[in-house]
Structures are given as structure tokens and as C-alpha cells.
């Protein structure tokens, strides 16, 4: 519990420090990191704890974003309406996709989730009224909290609070009976069924919960950029989320958030600075190389390395 409190404190002080150092840009950057931390944590639930290699997670993330975007464009800007709607639609999409996909195993499951997510991508691309391929800008951030969320500081703290809440709920979930069963299913699905668990139901519920949280993260990203585009649903985006999870540590509680921090910071550092010299626009190459190295040589991710150091 203690490291969590220290982290929370640091996170609270961070934007104030940035303001003091006249580096306001990083507050917005940090907010983006927090949102992706939520998305990655939701993927870690289904991927790390549940063992379901879902390659279509971006579909729920992007769908949530689009619901907020569409509602905003149509004049509905209240967070109390738009955000639950985003979560609801993402959960429904997860229910539909999960119900069909979870009847398959292994390689088929991965490819089906991928294909269904692409299907959703094309659905949103085809919405000419909302920008089609280019996406659409929102008239502004959601309202309803009594504070003007256009200000970076207020927005940062709201996102931080939401992330904190989500992580707390996930913590309880993972340690509950449900969490135990999900991990057992990941470890040995046949035996879990043989001792009496209706495995399909548990997997589906886990899938839906994970999708719902991704939807919330999507609602937040729409607000963050004040823009939604179909690229949020592209399978490359799903891949990015998976990279975060493995960098951070698959199946370890802080894996998602840690991976988000790592990847986005890496991206920011490599593309922004002169570290790679004239090649800095090719920072993706470095990301690819690092990812490959991690997969081949440190598959437990950073959280795994830390745990090993601690002797866990």
C-alpha cells in the first residue's frame, strides 16, 4: 500500500511542480499518460489476469471516445450523460464481440478479436457525418463538474481522481473471488471447468468489464484531445496498448500504468530530443527494437524485473 501512497502524492504534486518550472506542456502530457494508464490497465485485466490475448481492445477505447465525440457534436456535452453512455456502449460492444470470440481458442481467438475490431474501425470510418477518415473536432470538453475543464490543471486532477478510483476498483476485483477464478482459468482452463466453474461466463464478464473501463478511458481521451479520429480504433492502436502491458509487466497489478508511462515517455523523449540526431523522426524504430528485446529477453516486463529484485 505504501508505494501507492507515495505515487499518489507524487502524482498530485507533479502539475504544481511543472507550473512552477514553467513547463506547463508537461501537465497535458501527463494527463495523456494517465488516460493511457487506465486503458492499459483495462487491457491488463483481460490479457494479463485473464490470459485472453485480445487484439481488438482499441475498439472499446475508440468507441467510448466516439460516443463522447458524437454526443458533443450533437450538443450533448454533459459528462454525466456522455461518459456513462461511452462506458455503456463500450461494454455492449465487448459483450457482443466477446460472446462470439470467446467460443474460440488460441490463434483463432486472437485473429477474431482483431477482425472484429477492424470491423468497428470501418464502421466509424464510414460515418461521413462525423468526419469519416479524418475524424471530428469536439466543440469543447465535457461539462458538469462545476469547474471549467478547459484548464489543464483542473482536467489533470479530474483524470487523476478517476484513474485512482479505477485502479482501486481493479485492485479489489483482482483480489476478490472473481479475480481468483479468472486467474485460475488463465492457469488451467480445463481444470477450472472440472472443479465446477462455468468458465465461459467468467471470461465473458471479465471481457466486458475490461471493455467498459477502456470505454471510460476513451471518453477521457476524446476530452483530452478535443478530437476523435478512427485511428483510435485501428489495430495498430490495439498493438500499442499491448506493448504498454508487456513493457510494464503482464498480469502484474501495476503493469498497465507502468507500461503507459514507459512507452509514452520513451516516445516523447526519442521523438522530441536530439537523442537520435537526424533520425529522431524514426523513433518508432527504437521502440520496435526495445519491444523486441523485451519480448525476447525480459518477458516479464519492468514490473517483473522489479519483483525479481525484491525477491518476490
Amino acid at each position: 500500500m505504501k508505494p501507492a501512497i507515495v505515487l499518489a502524492l507524487l502524482a498530485c504534486l507533479f502539475p504544481l511542480a511543472m507550473q512552477a518550472m514553467d513547463q506547463d506542456f508537461y501537465i497535458s502530457f501527463a494527463t495523456r499518460v494517465l488516460i493511457y494508464a487506465m486503458a492499459a490497465a483495462s487491457l491488463n485485466l483481460v490479457l494479463g489476469y485473464g490470459g485472453m490475448v485480445s487484439f481488438g481492445h482499441a475498439a472499446f477505447f475508440g468507441a467510448g471516445a466516439y460516443i463522447v465525440g458524437i454526443l458533443a457534436v450533437e450538443g450533448v456535452s454533459s459528462a454525466w450523460l456522455a461518459w456513462p453512455a461511452a462506458v455503456g456502449v463500450a461494454a455492449l460492444a465487448a459483450l457482443a464481440i466477446g460472446a462470439v470470440s470467446l467460443r474460440t481458442r488460441g490463434v483463432y481467438f486472437i485473429m477474431i478479436t482483431l477482425a472484429f475490431a477492424q470491423m468497428m474501425y470501418y464502421v466509424f470510418v464510414s460515418l461521413k457525418a462525423y468526419g469519416g477518415d479524418d475524424g471530428v473536432a469536439l466543440p469543447g470538453r465535457s461539462s458538469g463538474f462545476g469547474v471549467d475543464l478547459r484548464g489543464d490543471l483542473a482536467w489533470y486532477y479530474l483524470v487523476l481522481a478517476l484513474l485512482g478510483g479505477v485502479l482501486y476498483l481493479l485492485h479489489r476485483l483482482v483480489h476478490s473471488r472473481f479475480g481468483r477464478v479468472i486467474e485460475a482459468i488463465r492457469e488451467n482452463e480445463t481444470r477450472a471447468a472440472a472443479i465446477g466453474y462455468p468458465v465461459y461466463r467468467y471470461k465473458l464478464l471479465c471481457f466486458v468489464i475490461s471493455g467498459a473501463i477502456a470505454g471510460l478511458a476513451g471518453a477521457l481521451i476524446a476530452n483530452q484531445s478535443v478530437y476523435v479520429s478512427p485511428s483510435l480504433l485501428h489495430w495498430i492502436q490495439s498493438g500499442t496498448l499491448m506493448i504498454m502491458v508487456i513493457l510494464g509487466g503482464v498480469g502484474r497489478f501495476w503493469g498497465g500504468p507502468l507500461g503507459a508511462v514507459l512507452l509514452l515517455t520513451l516516445e516523447e523523449t526519442l521523438s522530441g530530443t536530439q537523442m537520435l540526431g537526424p533520425y529522431s523522426m524514426h523513433w518508432q524504430l527504437a521502440v520496435g527494437a526495445i519491444l523486441l528485446a523485451v519480448v525476447l529477453f525480459a518477458p516479464q516486463g519492468i514490473a517483473g524485473l522489479i519483483a525479481r529484485r525484491r525477491g518476490a
Binding site: R177, R191, G196
Partner: protein, 247 residues
């Protein structure tokens, strides 16, 4: 307690179980023996619900469970252990057993309360660990156990669901004489509370424990009876037992 009528299963061109008819009476230890490939594990799979029977009926405690799903059968009191060890390797022994206990004690669609707080679950898990001789190893990771201990955990998992009938698929597979002796006495203790359908190759164990024996060859039942009857049956001797009993 358990009644099979004409249960059959084929995989492509191979007939694994061929119109198998047998019954298991309450309180008995019923052994199922036969050469490798006789279809014993397939039959166990069909009884437990992991495999769907192509034909035939399976009745348990008076109800027809032929179409019942696996978890429904477990709820009804049917449990199974695996020939090839199938445990939760990265869980501790205690957590393994607690999982099985959890399955039958209330709903696991519970998202808030930490499992660690449920003392009753773990107490029961400890009791089962004691019964299968794993009291010393409750906090060890299942993957670190010796083979014999893993087999004991295997049986423990099946027993933890509080079954009325337990299907033990070669519990002594790969065990040395000392471990086998322990498993035999375990089954001896267990039989007081649970009816047992035991698949085994270890003839010593079979003749010591079984009240009745059914012999399967090539997917078909060729004989059922008391140990003495089976020992004397000429067809069984020819097909399976052969020289093993000459000693």
C-alpha cells in the same frame, strides 16, 4: 448411483468407446481396468462432461445427465481427477484447494471482498490438504511439488468439491512403491465418504481396493464382476491379465 447405458464416442474413424454399459453402486469402489487405448480415459471424460457422448445415456443419482454441462455435473456431486496431472501450477497448494472449495460454496461473482479474508475457505482447504497428506506443503507452489505430491494434490482437488462420486483416472501413474502405498491408503480412507470409480493399471491396488471390477478392451466392456470373478474370467485373462496373475 451412476448408470451408463450404451455410451459411445468416436473420433473420426476411431471408435473410442463402444456402447459401454455399466453401473456404479453407492459406497463402492468400482475399478475400471484394461490395456492402454481401451477407452477408459475417454469414458471418464464422457462421464465428467468434458466430452459429449455420441450415443447412449448417463444417469447420476436418478437424473439423466447426458446433456448436462460440466459445471452442472460438478454441482450435482461428480468430480474427476486427471491421468496427466492438471493442477494450477503457479498457485500454492492451499490456493489450489481453496479454489475448489470456493467453487461449491456460494457464488464467485463477487468482486469486492478479498478472498484472503475468507477464513472458512482456507480452513477447509487445510483439512483436505491434511487428508491427502500435504499438510507440510500448503504454502508451496504447486509446480515445486514432487510427482507423488502433485498426484496427491490432483486427487485433493477432486475431493475438495465434496463429491458424492469421484472419478480417479490413474491416480498412481508414475509413482514408486512408497508413494503408491500412500495413495492406496488415501483411497481407503476416502471410500467411507465418497463412492469411487477408479481407473488403474496397478493391479495390486485394484485387487486390494475394488469391490467390483469392470474390464474394457478396445472401447468395449468385456466383463464386470467381483475381483475373484474377474481373476477367474478366461476372456479377461486372455485379453489383458495374462501372465500378470501367474505370480
Amino acid at each position: 448411483m451412476l448408470e451408463l447405458k450404451g455410451v459411445s464416442k468416436r473420433f473420426g474413424g476411431v471408435v473410442a468407446t463402444d456402447r459401454v454399459t455399466l453401473d456404479v453402486a453407492q459406497g463402492e469402489v468400482h475399478a475400471l481396468i484394461g490395456p492402454n487405448g481401451a477407452g477408459k480415459t475417454t469414458l471418464i471424460g464422457q462421464i465428467s462432461g468434458a466430452l459429449a457422448a455420441d450415443a447412449g445415456e448417463i444417469g447420476f443419482l436418478g437424473s439423466d445427465i447426458t446433456k448436462a454441462k460440466q459445471h452442472e455435473r460438478v454441482k450435482a456431486g461428480l468430480a474427476r481427477s486427471y491421468q496427466i496431472t492438471s493442477i494450477f501450477k503457479r498457485f500454492s497448494v492451499l490456493d489450489n484447494l481453496a479454489l475448489a472449495v470456493q467453487a461449491r460454496s456460494g457464488s464467485s461473482f463477487s468482486f469486492w471482498r478479498p478472498v484472503a479474508a475468507e477464513a472458512a475457505l482456507f480452513e477447509e482447504a487445510r483439512a483436505i490438504a491434511a487428508e491427502v497428506g500435504l499438510s507440510e506443503k500448503t504454502s508451496s507452489l504447486a509446480a515445486t511439488l514432487a510427482h507423488g505430491e502433485q498426484r496427491a494434490l490432483e486427487v485433493g482437488l477432486a475431493l475438495a468439491t465434496h463429491p458424492k462420486l469421484v472419478l480417479l483416472d490413474e491416480p498412481m501413474a508414475g509413482m514408486g512403491p512408497e508413494e503408491s502405498a500412500r495413495m492406496i491408503s488415501l483411497i481407503g480412507r476416502v471410500r467411507a465418504k465418497v463412492t469411487v470409480l477408479l481407473v488403474e493399471h496397478d493391479m495390486d491396488a485394484v485387487f486390494r481396493l475394488a469391490d467390483r471390477i469392470t474390464v474394457m478392451v478396445n472401447g468395449r466392456v468385456i466383463a464386470t464382476g467381483s475381483p475373484e470373478e474377474i481373476r477367474a474370467d478366461t476372456e479377461v485373462r486372455r485379453a489383458y491379465l495374462g501372465d500378470e496373475l501367474a505370480a
